[in-house]
């Protein structure tokens, strides 16, 4: 689901996602490089971008502007597919579900990741090294395998947890019930991605100059105070970047619910927007509508992410 590593810029550097210009550029004026060399280095990458990003997006948009029906065949239908999408209760349900899911799961996961990163930054025992390695391991586990594994662990036949309450005379827990399903899914995602985010935040913490909290130490601040009042603000930028990449990932939620549907039949074709787009294409063969859904979802995520980065940079600009 989520797959890009995240850079975690530090507080006092230039805006993180802005082109790095000034120094390098001024110096490079002296360079007598072959005039087309730069273009040639970038060209192969550029071609892949065109073939697998620009063209698919353009094609999806073009497809989404027409519809196919038995009576009329394929015909131009303008923005009808988008009107249909944003009045489609199934899509809106899925969208709302994913947004709610993200609002709860993302803060919890990043909170745990931050706590873990602060703990790692505070101690350097062998135990800490073991923790760092183990917490990161789930990242290397495919989402499919993670979902299957947790599916087994949740189930009454295979797992150790569902029957725990029966030991004290309670009822077994049904992790696949309507009320617990989102929590169960949230746990899978948290398990898989906390360690990854923790490493990113930990790397950012390692870059915080020691002088920043020396004064606080002399003033007798406790480690917890230093962690919360000095270290966390110092890596705010890294935290927001981790958040935005997590949001991008969450909006594409697909694999875990798709696998869990085998354990929990109430996961419907429109459980998440991405699942809905997939099913429109492959279960209902409505490629035009599916293209509109993909395009709309991609556009929505893109706009949210870009706006977030933009506002973030503006805020930093004001402070500086």
């Amino acid at each position: 689901m989520r797959s890009t590593p995240i850079t975690a810029p530090e507080a006092d550097d230039p805006p993180p996602l802005a082109p790095v210009e000034s120094r390098a550029r001024r110096r490079s004026r002296r360079v007598t490089a072959h005039p087309v060399a730069g273009t040639l280095f970038v060209l192969p990458f550029f071609l892949v971008v065109v073939a697998f990003l620009v063209v698919p997006l353009g094609y999806a948009f073009w497809l989404s502007l027409s519809s196919k029906s038995l009576a009329l065949g394929t015909r131009f239908s303008g923005l009808d597919n988008y009107v249909r999408a944003f009045t489609d209760p199934l899509l809106l349900d899925g969208l709302l579900r994913v947004v709610l899911f993200g609002l709860v799961q993302i803060p919890i996961m990043l909170g745990i990741a931050l706590a873990g990163a602060l703990a790692l930054d505070a101690v350097t025992t062998k135990f800490a090294i073991a923790f760092r390695l183990i917490a990161f391991m789930p990242y290397a586990v495919p989402a499919v395998v993670g979902a299957l594994m947790w599916g087994f662990l949740y189930s009454r036949t295979f797992g150790p947890f569902a029957d725990l309450p029966t030991l004290v005379g309670g009822d077994p827990i049904d992790f696949f019930s309507v009320s617990l399903l989102l929590v169960s899914l949230g746990n899978i995602v948290t398990w898989a991605w906390t360690g990854y985010n923790m490493i990113i935040l930990y790397s950012a913490l390692q870059g915080v100059p020691r002088e920043m909290y020396e004064a606080a130490v002399i003033d007798g601040a406790t480690p917890v105070q230093i962690a919360l009042r000095v270290k966390v603000p110092a890596i705010k930028q890294a935290i927001s970047l981790a958040a935005i990449f997590t949001v991008i990932g969450t909006m594409q939620f697909f694999t875990e619910p798709q696998i869990m549907a085998r354990f929990a039949p109430q996961i419907s074709a429109g459980y998440t927007p991405n699942l809905y787009a997939y099913n429109q294409a492959f279960a209902y063969s409505d490629f035009h509508y599916s293209a509109a859904l993909s395009f709309a979802l991609g556009f929505l995520v893109f706009v949210v992410a870009y706006a977030f980065v933009f506002v973030n940079n503006r805020r930093r600009g004001k402070r500086a």
Binding site: V20, R25, G38, L57, F136, M137
Partner: protein, 288 residues
């Protein structure tokens, strides 16, 4: 590392972090332990014995059965997965390395525009591209071939961005200049001077794109219908579906579990062994 950073490493002060980490280790490790334990069990034991403890040791029988089932389908999937992710990661890393270097150390028309666009590309959700790419590749009859999985995986805007940042930080312009004065060709400068200097960033991008393709499910699920071409993720889910649907008649759950274990071991080993490299690469990105 933190010692001498002004903190007093007494017992009291490390109790809270250690408690946190202890709970964390349990949480992250127990599911993995479960897979290890469960992979050693026969199908009946998997259903009946205590979930987190060993029963009769059946691992080697499971592995044998795993590679025999469906005429050795698992072996094929394993090879496919390694092939797809290996080629994708090498290709994506090479493209990103060249582009990142080109953007960091050259000037050419349209560069600013492309750099701004690069940041936008990072924000485009990968899955939104999968269905449209499927439709295009079916026009040129590439769906249901290995290229349908490998070619789209070559796209790594984030990799290019990371390399660009890294080169800007750690490959001095003066060094490239003096190589040029010595009349070294641009390709030779790139290959013999720049690439060795950005090795941590390259290992990082390589590992992360490798994992992304190895773990990818959505892309191959959409692109492939021939079971011989499946990677592990798609193959294991088809087995799991069979196991669910024909519970009792075909004994597949133990194979799904053993297959899952074998699917995750290579990546975990790669990450642990290459820790030194990718951590410094990630840190370089983080320090920017």
């Amino acid at each position: 590392m933190t010692l001498g950073r002004g903190e007093n490493p007494t017992r009291v002060k490390t109790r809270l972090p250690h408690l946190l980490m202890g709970v964390g280790i349990l949480y992250f490790l127990v599911p993995l332990l479960w897979v290890v334990v469960a992979a050693t069990k026969s199908q009946p034991d998997l259903l009946d014995s205590p979930a987190l403890w060993f029963a009769e040791f059946n691992l080697f029988e499971n592995i044998g059965q795993l590679f025999r089932e469906d005429d050795g389908a698992y072996g094929k999937w394993l090879v496919n997965t390694a092939l797809y992710s290996g080629l994708s990661a090498v290709g994506a890393t090479a493209l990103a390395a060249a582009a990142g270097y080109g953007l960091a150390r050259f000037r050419f028309p349209g560069k600013r525009l492309f750099e701004t666009a690069l940041l936008g590309m990072i924000m485009v959700p990968a899955t939104a591209l999968v269905l449209p790419t499927y439709l295009i590749l079916s026009e040129v009859e590439l769906v249901d071939t290995m290229w349908a999985v490998i070619l789209p995986s070559l796209l790594s805007p984030f990799g290019a961005y990371l390399i660009r940042v890294y080169v800007d930080e750690s490959v001095p312009v003066e060094l490239i200049d003096s190589a040029r004065i010595d009349r070294a060709g641009e390709l030779r400068i790139f290959w013999q001077i720049v690439v060795p200097m950005m090795r941590p960033a390259i290992v990082t991008v390589f590992l992360f794109t490798l994992v992304a393709t190895w773990n990818n499910y959505f892309l191959p699920l959409v692109m492939l219908s021939d079971a011989d071409l499946y990677p592990l993720t798609v193959g294991l889910t088809t087995w799991f579906n069979t196991a669910q649907q024909e519970a009792g008649t075909r004994m597949l759950f133990n194979l799904v579990v053993t297959g899952s274990l074998l699917a995750i071991v290579p990546l975990i080993v790669a990450f642990v062994l290459l820790q030194r490299f990718w951590r410094s690469g990630a840190a370089a990105g983080a320090l920017k």
